[in-house]
Symmetry: C2
Subunit: 350 residues, 2 copies
């Protein structure tokens, strides 16, 4: 734990060691332990909370996040106005490009501070409501077929309403068959996490369409050419969403004509204000929007839930997958994430 | 003056009769008297202020605005949460399409209420700063050449830093010559208010380029085909901005490839939240952004000024043109509009 006084807002941070109930597998690899970084911004007698959840496939690690936090502690970068969020984020963007999870941890902590200062929930300050829709899904990670069947059983028994299934293996079709055996009629979306070629994506889209899947996330590599997206979108019977390929709003403008939807995540945008931009650009282009998350505690998930009234689909199950969620925030309630009427993000230690 | 109690937020409204110092001429016509509608949203012991400034070329009149306000007084439409601005505006959009100045009057009054409830300026609740840039321009309306020369003299003597000149007459080149005679080096932009054909626009763009003009607003009719915008943009040596053709963010997405900039106005977007969307979509497409206004008092102009830190150019001279501004808000200070650190919009009766 390290504290440095910089102007009036000071940064303190520490590692958060999160454990998932099951090892969480996606096309990039599998892990049961996840290192996030807890952000505490101090201002007068208040503390704003944030969480950075770095992903190596987005060019960040727990070490790069902490290196930037050390650097920013040594600079006059946070200023003295917790409400000046856009201005502070411009300074961080000038300090270093990308590194959006490091920035997201700071940005959500500023919203938490601002809300606590104003005595109002963050979503209210942004003119939004706590409309508890849409329903969030629950993710079945990559695993052995036996474990996938077992996890699907558990998810159905736990009362989850919508499933998201990770793909990107040599047995993708078998995974879907096992899930559909246990949950034949449950709304289902799949996430290939960049694993397929265009030809694979088109073939899988046809297969998944036959198995009543709603849409496909990120079938193609992060930096796939526009022509590949166009080809897959033209030939896929299912809507195609971009996730890894979309960090900020300029990415939406670039891909708008060749996708059907976008996945917005605070850890990719660098915070709520840029997430609003991604949402607004997607809407202006008549794209569908899903709000997602990484493996995050209820702190990061509740920050994302502030914007849930603006999107079509929720994939905010990061905290639901944990065995040791250290925070209490938006409560999972029969499919919905219920925001609390507390100042700021509305998150407290468990 | 009419009051009806609807749930917890109630609407009161009245006509505002504004007079410009000179008759204000644009390509659609000239007038010295302007009828806006003052909005007062009552919630508990607070009053949120807003202003609707309808324009016939945007399909609204003072009568249509008042007709909608009468209708909305009779419905449970404003709800009981002044912070639920997006939700309330969705209800108004369901009630009637377009009619954005009527909606803008309501929406800015809700921001004023929310800010007063939170005890913070509106721009702060939105995460923004009172960065006092850019400089606002001052508009020289259409008039006789003698009056244009006189008005330009007055503007220079008053210390204005940037001029905007209205076009759309049979003597557009002579207007520019007179302005440039008095103010040879002052930054200058022109606004054709839909008056030109593509061929006229291209010829004028070349002439205006020779006279050191910065950019051209709305050279073409509101509903000009994309191909006409493309043609003018391809052949114009000056950047082309769209004003009347852009109301909401979907319009930006539609025109993004064939223009260089957009003019955002609260009276076209229907309020601040949609203005943010227009700004975000324009930025994502790497377009320039000017924030403009209609003939409005310091109430409407100060609502717009909340978002000034996000744009490249300001055309917020609506209140500067008035002989009888009934409100005090953002103060004009040597080119800049200085926001006050007051709750809500920060506007009080003069």
């Amino acid at each position: 734990m390290k504290t440095t006084r910089i102007s009036h807002i000071t940064l303190e941070f520490e590692l958060m060691e999160l454990k998932t109930a099951h090892p969480f597998g996606i096309s990039y690899g599998s892990a049961a332990a996840h290192k996030n970084i807890l952000v505490k911004l101090h201002y007068k007698d208040l503390v704003g909370l944030g969480e950075a959840s770095p992903a190596s496939y987005h060019n960040e690690t727990p070490d790069t996040v902490q290196a930037l936090y050390h650097q920013w502690q040594g600079e006059e970068i946070f200023g003295d106005d917790p409400f000046a969020i856009a201005e502070t984020m411009r300074r961080l963007d000038q300090s270093v490009a990308a590194n959006n999870s490091a920035k997201a941890g700071i940005e959500m902590a500023m919203h938490d501070l601002a809300g606590k200062l104003a005595g109002k929930p963050t979503y209210k300050l942004l003119g939004l409501s706590a409309l508890s829709q849409p329903i969030t899904d629950f993710t079945i990670g990559i695993d052995s077929l036996e474990m996938i069947e077992k996890k699907t059983h558990e998810a159905v028994e736990a009362g989850y309403k919508v499933l998201k299934v990770k793909q990107g293996t040599a047995y993708d079709k078998e995974i879907i068959a096992r899930v559909r055996k246990v949950a034949p009629n449950m709304p289902l979306r799949v996430d290939a996490n960049s694993a397929w070629t265009p030809k694979q994506a088109i073939a899988m889209a046809k297969f998944l369409f036959e198995h009543n899947v709603q849409f496909i996330e990120q079938p193609l590599p992060k930096h796939a050419p526009i022509a590949d997206w166009q080809l897959v979108r033209d030939q896929s019977p299912l809507p195609i969403f971009a996730d890894e390929s979309i960090s900020r709003s300029t990415d939406v403008a670039r891909l708008a004509g060749v996708i059907d939807g976008v996945v917005v995540k605070l850890q990719k945008t660098g915070g709520l204000l840029e997430a609003l931009k991604v949402i607004h650009v997607a809407r202006a282009h008549c794209l569908q929007i899903m709000f997602g998350c990484m493996i995050e505690s209820s702190l990061g998930v509740t920050a994302a839930a502030q914007l849930q009234s603006l999107v079509d689909h929720l994939d905010l199950d990061g905290a639901l997958l944990l065995a040791n969620d250290p925070y209490v925030g938006a409560r999972y309630d029969d499919g919905y994430l219920r925001l609390q009427d507390l100042p700021g993000l509305g998150v407290v230690p468990r």
